[in-house]
Subunit: 239 residues, 2 copies
DNA sequence: CGCGTGGTTGACACGGATCAATCGTGGTGG
DNA sequence: CCACCACGATTGATCCGTGTCAACCACGCG
């Protein structure tokens, strides 16, 4: 029933491969972007490859330019428990290299990916005389902190149904073409479950519960939001 | 049985009140520290006061110079559910002001405190020509990210006993004076429980379980670690 | 002395994990 | 072309951890 094919209208946007920086750090001076370009090293990996492992030396920041990467904790018996799945341009390892010089989680590609490694020593040297770039970096980390705090809060205070509702609300983007917001799940459901801190079984049950209550309609990897208001209420009711 | 008095040998260290920056940001050039001093505004609050509330405008970073502050989610029926209790010099709000300009959690003093507010616009201006300071700030946020990721991981993959064991291990510092590591709980047990993502009842049971198994000895707010090795094993066994 | 606060203990309920079986889909090789 | 298999999702049955509720204890204070 569930195919993993992407919808026809979700054709890959023609990304400017050589300029991931705006998406990662916000608007930059051209010279700052050029400095990063000079520093970064492009790396390509096939699907299923390990990007890095917990405890590895982390001599460089790692950015995901294109593709899909799962970050989490590798467990011998049940594979990678992803606490985070990254798409398109985003940071895979932004903070860890600065602290211990070691990665704190495992990362594995889920599709063919293009990475950009930014060696930390070089970056430090560049930042030493590029204050705006430093600021952008600090802001990127600040976003990361806020995101993590929100997730921590959700995990501690919301039950599985509320977390799913909140996730659906966050994922949903209004589309001009459709009356009701529709979203295509871009990851395996087990990875979504993992990100939400629940098992695939529980996710399945929650999805069914929501659709039985008429809040959403699910067919395979397509979810249609029928009652965004009720969904939002479920998401914010901390109980 | 449990008094909240601090042990006699934990006399307050004579902190250099005017220079919290090294503890917050690491070693700085004297001129950078002076710039921060010029910017920061000292603020004193009595015990039990609100430092800020979720959703408040956050026009300044907030540092805790001295005292104790609990950060968490205020709930009308059961008070502040602290997800974090801060001591001595540390950041209360480091990241949130950068992002939305709003605080993302509630903060409340638990003792008389001295705060330092660092207004963000001024800080941006200072950072624009102080690259080293920017770097230190980025590093401070990086530490925050790593800490949060670790907590997220613990919360998702470890049970209550393992989280307590991990916390005890992390809190324990070897003391030359004692044969066995001893630690004084510096917060109410309910706040410790809250930080560990469990209820006070569960914390109490876990403490008893550990002491019945001979791993620790508890008397009031004093915890003696009897078998650090077994405790560590419990903490790392993700099960 | 009574009262408020904080901790401990016990009984109980419930959410969600676990285990196991089944189904649908897609890829592969005879 | 179809049997076969691997993988992921779904569903049901069951179990366990931990939250909830309530009672009780210990301490400090007015």
């Amino acid at each position: 029933m569930d195919t993993f094919a992407l919808p026809a209208d979700a054709a890959p946007a023609p990304r400017t491969l050589e300029a991931p920086w705006p998406a990662l750090l916000g608007t930059l001076h051209a010279s700052d972007a050029a400095a990063l370009d000079a520093l970064a090293q492009r790396r390509e990996l096939p699907a299923g490859a390990s990007v890095f492992r917990r405890g590895d030396r982390a001599p460089a920041l790692v950015a995901l330019v294109e593709g899909q990467v799962a970050c989490g904790a590798w467990q011998a018996d049940r594979g990678l428990q992803a606490h985070h799945v990254l798409h398109g341009p985003s940071w895979v390892s932004l903070a860890a290299p600065w602290v211990e010089g070691r990665h704190v989680s495992d990362a594995q590609t889920q599709a063919d990916v293009v990475l950009a490694d930014v060696p930390l020593p070089g970056l430090r040297a560049v930042l030493a005389h590029r204050p705006v770039l430093s600021l952008r970096l600090a802001e990127a980390m600040a976003r990361e902190v806020v995101r993590l705090e929100a997730r921590l809060h959700e995990l501690m205070h919301k039950d599985a149904g509320a977390r799913l509702a909140a996730w659906l609300c966050a994922q949903t983007v209004e589309r001009p073409g459709h009356r009701r917001p529709v979203l295509q799940l871009a990851e395996r459901k087990r990875d979504i479950a993992s990100q939400l801190g629940m098992t695939p079984e529980t996710l399945s049950r929650m999805m069914r519960s929501l659709s039985e209550r008429g809040l959403i309609a699910v067919r395979g990897y397509t979810v249609q939001v029928l009652d965004a208001q009720a969904l939002q209420a479920l998401a914010t009711n901390q109980a």
